[in-house]
Symmetry: none
Subunit: 245 residues, 2 copies
DNA sequence: AGAAGGTTGACAAAATGATGACAATCCACC
DNA sequence: GGTGGATTGTCATCATTTTGTCAACCTTCT
């Protein structure tokens, strides 16, 4: 649940903002002056801060700096009367992530807050001239299961599933030839490597583990099918059972 | 009318840059080597210089220094292959205002050139010998941790954390592929270099040190995760994000 | 039904990782 | 050069995870 800390001295504005954010299902926390704001921030780090520039007891600028020093990843959106912003750059240097001048449209403020959260919140910013991020992940999706071989993460219905390196290897090999029946021998060669030559029951066991982790009903496999006397095959689509029954 | 002096020996790159800048209504002047560049600069001082680092007849570094000595207010954006920049601070000392590593996106280059012009043009010259400017720093921010790879400074909750050169290198490599599982071998190759080939336990130890310095609870890592049998990965936020954006 | 093949859970061996201590190396500063 | 401190690679030990094997039992096919 995302929380927004609103630091703002005017009651009217407090109410307005509260309604606005709650309507967008954010949890709202309100502080009426700078000190209060700082305490609230420390006590329960919010997902985003909306901060009035002129405040009693501790100026918005001070606060901004303090927040950023303490927890740089929490985005800050500054509210200010038009006149107050003599230098927008200065504000950004203080660490603010965006600013909105009063009067503002609620929609706009909300949009900016949301964007700030998206950009900064919990996520890393790697600022650099080398574009670092765009690494393609090798993905496999079937039913409600999602496998990311690059980050080695697996989820089912959104929940993470612990999988071992070997399991990823086996799964990837199977998934690269969907529908094809693959013999235990081939699997031992390709997944385990020539040198190692574990008994052929080993494969069974690993298939078992894949089923237990990924099949809705491990006892009645839909995706990891046994081809009696031949091997296994992975069928990502709809488990049109290979059997006649 | 703003003019940009492009000093670059590759014809292809010359054309690319020319089109790029002309499309943005800058007047483009081209020099194919260092001497030519220097002459062009002296004859008709441009609004900004885009300078390839490695050049025939006069190295980019020499040029950079010469330009800055001669006319410090003209901003310089350096182009370089990634490998050439081992030390960004050095560049800064040479007087460059920004740098872009190849390959770069045209948009990005343009943006940086424009910004360099803006920054320097508006600036009153506080020049004397060297006037280093705010060059973009390579930043990494996650949770309350802030890493600046350019100045090699790290802070956690605002407090400085001592980190060694090797630690920065490792961290940067990890952070450039967030989420991706990276094997010890790759790390050894990329971070330590082929020549050096320390034992694979070395990596473990450095990860350990990163954890001790940067993790809230080093015994239960949140950011530097071990993937048993595979390697390590750096996971910045706790976003359940699995996709490439 | 019988034989061949497949499933399953338990378990112990083997592989892998964590960690602290230590020695080699590097470095800045006399 | 020499010296003290920081940095870094290596090692030994311990903890944890993974995984191959086995044995009992279940399915399928003829």
């Amino acid at each position: 649940m995302d929380t927004v800390l609103v630091i703002e001295d005017s009651r009217v504005m407090q109410r307005t903002l509260q309604r606005l954010f709650e309507a967008d299902s954010l949890v709202v926390q309100i502080a009426s002056d700078g000190m209060e704001g700082l305490e609230a921030f420390k006590k329960q780090t919010p997902s985003v801060v909306v901060l009035d520039l002129k405040l009693p007891r501790l100026s918005g600028k001070e606060l901004c700096r303090a927040f950023k020093a303490h927890m740089p990843s929490v985005p800050i959106v500054v509210l200010s009367a038009d006149a107050e912003i003599e230098d927008k750059v200065l504000l950004l240097e203080l660490g603010a992530d965006d600013y909105v001048t009063k009067p503002f449209s609620p929609r706009e403020l909300l949009a900016r807050v949301r964007r700030a959260m998206r950009r900064n919140g919990a996520k890393t910013r790697m600022v650099s001239n080398v574009a670092p991020q765009a690494m393609d992940h090798e993905l496999l999706v079937f039913k409600d299961v999602q496998i990311d071989f690059t980050s080695m993460e697996a989820t089912r219905a959104g929940k993470p599933i612990p999988m071992t390196a070997q399991e990823f290897k086996l799964l990837r090999y199977l998934a690269r030839s969907p529908e094809r029946v693959i013999s235990r021998e081939e699997l031992l060669n390709e997944v385990w490597g020539y040198q190692n030559y574990p008994s052929t029951r080993t494969v069974d066991n690993h298939i078992l583990r894949l089923r237990q982790k990924l099949e809705p009903d491990p006892a009645n496999p839909r995706f990891f099918l046994t081809m009696h006397g031949a091997g296994y095959k992975f069928v990502p689509g709809h488990g049109a059972n290979g059997k006649n029954s």
